[in-house]
Point group: D2
Chain length 346, copies 4
Amino acid sequence: MIKAGIIGSTGYAGAELVRLLVRHPEAEVVWYGSHSYIDQKYADIYRNMFQIVDASCMEDDMDALADSVDVIFTATPQGLCASLVSEEILSKVKIVDLSADFRLKDVAVYEKWYGITHKSPRFIAEAVYGLCEINREKVKGARLIANPGCYTTCSILTAYPLVKEGLIDPMTLIIDAKSGTSGAGRGAKVANLFCEVNENMKAYGVATHRHTPEIEEQLGYAWGQPITVSFTPHLVPMNRGILATEYASLKPGVTADMVRAAYDKYYEKEFFIRVDHQGRPVETRWVEGSNYVDISYVIDERTGRIIMMGAIDNLVKGAAGQAVQNMNLLFGLPETEGLDQVPMFP
Amino acid sequence: MIKAGIIGSTGYAGAELVRLLVRHPEAEVVWYGSHSYIDQKYADIYRNMFQIVDASCMEDDMDALADSVDVIFTATPQGLCASLVSEEILSKVKIVDLSADFRLKDVAVYEKWYGITHKSPRFIAEAVYGLCEINREKVKGARLIANPGCYTTCSILTAYPLVKEGLIDPMTLIIDAKSGTSGAGRGAKVANLFCEVNENMKAYGVATHRHTPEIEEQLGYAWGQPITVSFTPHLVPMNRGILATEYASLKPGVTADMVRAAYDKYYEKEFFIRVDHQGRPVETRWVEGSNYVDISYVIDERTGRIIMMGAIDNLVKGAAGQAVQNMNLLFGLPETEGLDQVPMFP
Amino acid sequence: MIKAGIIGSTGYAGAELVRLLVRHPEAEVVWYGSHSYIDQKYADIYRNMFQIVDASCMEDDMDALADSVDVIFTATPQGLCASLVSEEILSKVKIVDLSADFRLKDVAVYEKWYGITHKSPRFIAEAVYGLCEINREKVKGARLIANPGCYTTCSILTAYPLVKEGLIDPMTLIIDAKSGTSGAGRGAKVANLFCEVNENMKAYGVATHRHTPEIEEQLGYAWGQPITVSFTPHLVPMNRGILATEYASLKPGVTADMVRAAYDKYYEKEFFIRVDHQGRPVETRWVEGSNYVDISYVIDERTGRIIMMGAIDNLVKGAAGQAVQNMNLLFGLPETEGLDQVPMFP
Amino acid sequence: MIKAGIIGSTGYAGAELVRLLVRHPEAEVVWYGSHSYIDQKYADIYRNMFQIVDASCMEDDMDALADSVDVIFTATPQGLCASLVSEEILSKVKIVDLSADFRLKDVAVYEKWYGITHKSPRFIAEAVYGLCEINREKVKGARLIANPGCYTTCSILTAYPLVKEGLIDPMTLIIDAKSGTSGAGRGAKVANLFCEVNENMKAYGVATHRHTPEIEEQLGYAWGQPITVSFTPHLVPMNRGILATEYASLKPGVTADMVRAAYDKYYEKEFFIRVDHQGRPVETRWVEGSNYVDISYVIDERTGRIIMMGAIDNLVKGAAGQAVQNMNLLFGLPETEGLDQVPMFP
């Protein structure tokens, strides 16, 4: 059994890791780290875990963890993982960092968009961007995984084959993304109160959201040169789910068959990516609770654009599920181990 | 592998059976019955099943099913199962009926509350009321299981130990129940449209709801004589979950310890029933997606009443989960097989 | 024009007062009091007021207010109004207190249920309980109005005629109430985050909720002697609305006609109370945004009980609307002035 | 008093017309037309109208209506108004058509996108597109008003000043719109059931939605030549509200001041349009229940694009409110008469 420790186990992403790992056949959680609930029973905070998890929360102590576990998940705000990691720790344990600390290769870009100084720039080069379907082989040998952001996972995977194959002009790419509220975390903020979110829809972080450079970097690798995209996230009155609606101009001469072939080339054998070539719009409800990415697209002859749509569960493929998928790769397990949840509807 | 057929697989309860059975280690669905979607791919109706279920819907043909499967689940409106079942069928196959047809032992009561003539009264005596925690042993040897109603499962289990042990006066029992909207089914009715249900709360079926005699019959067995209860269901703007708030006068001299002991006597060893003796109100979110029943209670010295609270997922323990639990008992499997879903939150 | 000041104008009840008063033909808000947002533009906090309210927030200074306005609304937590009010202030200005400070005549009961020392017990006797339909005449001549609680307004009005006329046994009264989340206020608490409330239903304050003694006191006046009730509030995933489902045993010999006559006697001429004698369950959506109280009832011959149902908008009739109704009475205006909003659906 | 008749008064848009008109100081509804509920009391269908509207539903008989009323509102599906209108009717009565029948000047475009034959093409030229802020003077003298679509109202007004002033390249315009579910109407369809919409987000009508040509036609007038846009609507789990997020490339040399000046030029004096030049994203909650259009924008230097955001209540400014605004103009009333509802939050 793989011994897992979670730093930040009492946030929504941490709790989702717990949900997945307590039923994982090859892993067990031995350290429920928390900043706010030390010594409280985990099941008193997340009462769905009553009679399932008996442990109490422990400190977010990475040094102690490194001696106790095989893999550490950091489900914490940006900055924390970078401030704790060290060569000694990495020599003992694998780290899957769910924060943004090691996602961007250019430390200046990180510091500009996040507004903080990076505490461990020396590990950035080594860190592997854990978008499993794209970087599978690199993940297998890594010590430090930068687990992708929720919006970015959905945004990148939806457009990746067309960028990679050069079928769209990536400089025309506009990503209009919509997220359930769990993406905003469990912090007590007025803006996230039920009455503020319910019966409302809004954009936020317009032209400034931090997932923008992450999308640009990864799609830039696919394209072969830097790209700039418009990315606008929106808050939706639902708990889970991200929907990305992406617009781009098709290159001249690109046909529906070429688009289909591109998606098939990269995704036909992927267990977690389901492409619907009939153009039926994807819906977040069809992936809820699962690690699937649903993708469909419509070619609009009138405008010469393709509208690509992607849907994920932000807490699973957008966070904890992908983290477990990375763990499976790191430890040589089948990639789908413990991740075969059927999407729950309604 | 147990071969299972589902009559009514395209309703919400049927779809939940599919969700549970496709990951059940000892069962497989070989017949996706449907009245409305014959020959359509199941995954085109429930697109969460894309690349998971490849089958198309077939007729709701119980005779044909009886020759093809080991167990038939009927997830259909009242009347259908009773109109289809026969001695020949029961000689070939087990039936778990999710409708109300075989729940009430007194056919006159059935016909009065449901307003239809019972088509197979000869099987009523044989049918076992499949509330597993109460009737476990009877279920094991049965051919025909009457799977309990959603409200009734929650209402009965919440009060059962106190009625059985004579700690409350059952004639004072008032059950105020609240349900998510999936309990209303997938029929296209104005009253169940999003805009009609959202931002609204209402009672319905006041003093006339059909689950009333079912609760009265089962709690009457526990009490040893007939009882009459007030039962009021309410519709809540959420997808899943039933909450029952139950009020009853404690018998003179009953103490908190006696209440605790009664719950422990019947439920301490039950995997799916979680009793919180601290009196923290149960919440539907803590059982969502799982087969758990959460129960807590508060003794109110001022009024001499006890307020009992129970929560279930109406589609799992209130329908499909309990049906699978019954199937497990029928086929000698561990009762929890395929039913260890961790409640999903948020 | 009546000059109005609001202490606590940036909570949900305060904001609803603003919504109603800015369109009131005989009143204007001249003081937007706030503890947290002093000097900020009101319309920056509640952006629905953009280009409608130009004022900035001011301190919650009751002395200064008393010299500036004709009526002060205190939409603040319990304790504040009692700590600020004085004889001098009451000699200058009318006060409508939306908190609980002056609702209970017995200061010991207040201090027990609220757990705080009352700072101005000398004004308790003078304060008039502002349930307009019951205490209309007393309100007209008052200086200090104790605006009723949201749950209590709904709970009392639903049962009042039957208690007053002696048609039910009030000692059997059980009130199961359900409220939208705006009743929990705008404080930043984890328990009220969108993801915690959405897709969930729970009771809270079981046997201990502070509105209990308020209901008991007022219905005790109607009955003529003290009564004890069970009152259980529940949190519902919707913004607005309270639904009270109330159970009581009918006195022997009470007929449907007698029940109807009792409701008509007290409510037939009331503009804001709408009684449906057909027994159709009331729904919160039919009163949303308005000052109406909808009431219906079902007599259950089987159990000898009557099930009464009442619905209000907790922010209007349960708070700000009733406060304006009290203001209208205090200043000799038509009681419905500025309160003729049609319920908004969907 | 203006006598108003409503054809289709029992749909959501029709019911919103009733809500607005029953409190309109200069109008009264004298004919509640309905296809499905003839002879039923209106207040039995919309119980918010209990004790407010006493009338019963009548046939959707435009000839009879023309002799009884001053203005007819047709809140019906496309095709009906065109099939009923005649020269004789228009000689007697004003018509405000909330359907799409007279919005598009090119009948071929109408027939292509709507898939039906236009029954009254002879009135298309005469009909005035009732987007009041743009076509105010034309509306005043019209007999037949084509009340704009909900998405189109929001989409056009959000971009209009920049198109009109030539500050953006309209061929780059991409409109990603999100709507509450009331926009889907009150028809009993599985896709609009609570459990299908709740906890879900999806696009629909991708590249084929019928509001596309309406947007293109109107913005084409502003631009001076035909334009083509990408328009994608989405369904959001909320009752009311449309949010349009619009992307376009700024023309070279366009500054923030020029953008601001363009918005001010057209909207500074408009009562119902509120432009926030600070770039705070608009939110549907801030306009709910009101006739306001909220607009804000962000200039993204990185991409050279401007992101414009607009929010309306789809049932008010997107349907019934704008219809009343048109009625006010037609009858020489102040444009805001009966339309000063303050947005209701929460």
